[in-house]
Symmetry: C2
Subunit: 318 residues, 2 copies
């Protein structure tokens, strides 16, 4: 379990390198989502996603010797970009192992930061990363199953609690559980009355099933347009945190996730990647109870999306 102290320490460690992203009141979305809508815009974070928080917190906790041997990670994109940015910032090298299915825009962004990119099958990416680490003596920074990483992501929750202490409900995208673990711990330890909900792809309902089973459970790999939410099981270190602090996790269809993305873009004027809109999709799909008078904040986790990917929204009906 991570503690609120670890999250506060993470903030001390990383805050001069990141931005405090804005919490925005989205009036134009109220009508569609039937609540008072806010977003925490982590798509406006340096590197375009919250992932930099955890990556930096882990990297800044290494010794000088460890740091000099380099950083390695397996990532569907945003964590890799965070690691690549952290390595550049701290003067060391990074190797990022990415699935073949990662969007080109994410691969390019990581290469542009000077990191080496190795691509492989999504299911093999952790083994490939471990092999590289052993060969180079470098440090593997996991995308979620690590207490420093989780505490780093939790700093977004500390900020949100200060920026909008009157918030009633916070809704986050879920994959391995690093973001929702850190943020739910930060929120519930500082604002105990807040409800925290998670939204995960219906194709990969690893938390819905694991929470029902009472233990981390692996789900079979299935395709989803939520390219940042592809983990097949909860992180073993994330699961107990999520079970303690998160009120509910719901599985959301790709169709409703894309409706959420189109709504946020065309009515809210905010560009986010598909995965980051899954919480809005959950409410549109009627999976989460929200109320007209409630202040609901969606954590918009990232914005790594290319112009060419937006064409898929043309036929989406709101």
């Amino acid at each position: 379990m991570i503690s609120i102290q670890e999250i506060r320490q993470a903030r001390e460690r990383i805050q001069s390198y990141i931005v405090q992203t804005p919490v925005l009141r989205m009036h134009t979305l109220d009508h569609y989502l039937n609540c008072e809508v806010y977003i925490k815009a982590e798509n406006m974070q340096v590197t375009g996603a919250f992932k930099l928080r955890g990556a930096l917190n882990r990297a800044l906790s290494l010794s000088r010797e460890e740091l000099e041997r380099g950083l390695v990670c397996a990532s569907s994109g945003n964590h890799g970009r965070g690691i690549a940015y952290a390595a550049k910032l701290l003067g060391t090298k990074a190797t990022v192992v990415m699935p073949n299915t990662a969007p080109a825009v994410k691969v390019q962004a990581i290469r542009a930061l000077g990191a080496e990119v190795v691509q492989c099958e999504a299911s093999e990416r952790f083994q490939v990363a471990e092999r590289i680490c052993e060969a180079q003596g470098a440090t593997l920074i996991p995308p979620y199953n690590d207490e420093f990483v989780m505490a780093g992501q939790g700093t977004a929750g500390l900020e949100l609690g200060e920026q909008l202490p009157e918030v009633n409900t916070v809704i986050l995208p879920v994959s391995g559980g690093g973001l929702i673990g850190g943020v739910s711990a930060a929120l519930k330890e500082t604002l105990p009355a807040v409800r925290v909900y998670g939204a995960e792809p219906a194709a990969l309902p690893r938390y819905s099933q694991s929470l029902a089973a009472g233990e981390p459970t692996q789900v079979p790999y299935q395709q989803t347009l939520a390219d940042a939410l592809v983990s097949q099981q909860p992180g073993s270190k994330c699961f107990p945190v999520v079970r303690t602090y998160v009120d509910r996790v719901v599985p959301v269809s790709d169709e409703f996730m894309l409706k959420g993305m189109k709504l946020l873009l065309t009515e809210g004027k905010i560009l986010a990647e598909p995965s980051s809109c899954i919480g809005i999709g959950a409410v549109l799909q009627g999976l989460l109870p929200v109320d007209r008078a409630e202040k609901v904040c969606f954590v918009i986790s990232g914005g790594s999306v290319g112009i060419s990917q937006l064409a898929m929204l043309e036929e989406v009906v709101l």
Copy 2:
């Protein structure tokens, strides 16, 4: 000339119907624009553009009898949507005369508000609107050349001055001069040290030429992708205000305007219509002097853009 008192009265009149749009710090754009970048996000205004401010201020100044006979306007889109929304809100009818070239997304939005849309050649739209007014006894609300309208748009400047009193430079899109007239008056009367710059399409340099000539001058009609900035001459009531308060207006190419739009969308994660990005285009094109240490706020005037229009950004090189 409009006074700061008229702008303050406008604010009293309209503030319960509009939102105070956020001023956002855009860290990710600093590197591209070589200054500390902020935006005033009027694309997040109710109806998706600042135009509602002026439309409402004029409509709320009419007598009950005048209001009941209906509102009419000629508009390339956003003013029409503001009028349509104001009419619905105040329980009267609206007729909006639009150029044949207006984007479908704007036409649909206006019809959805219950207004009647009449389409014609862009050059004939004011005559058509006047004919409808005479036939119906309705009130014509000009898109810019009206003191109530200009004072209404100026309320965005009052807000900005309070939200970011340390701002050094404010850059706005320019067409007839309603927005920049109202906002420059509000800013210079409350924060005299602020610089205010305008950016207009190079195809229709009506202010660049009129300011050089010392009087309102008509320019020949030419095509531009800046579909919200198509006036051929300064408003006679706007010109003296702009001449008094605006430091400089520069003509910007469509190419750099689209670069600005792509930059704001892909790096800033904010969707705005092409016309609204012309100020960013002006800085990218090197037409306006800005400095690394300067706080520069771009007024992002509107966000009425359809998904299908975004494909044109694919080939734009930043």
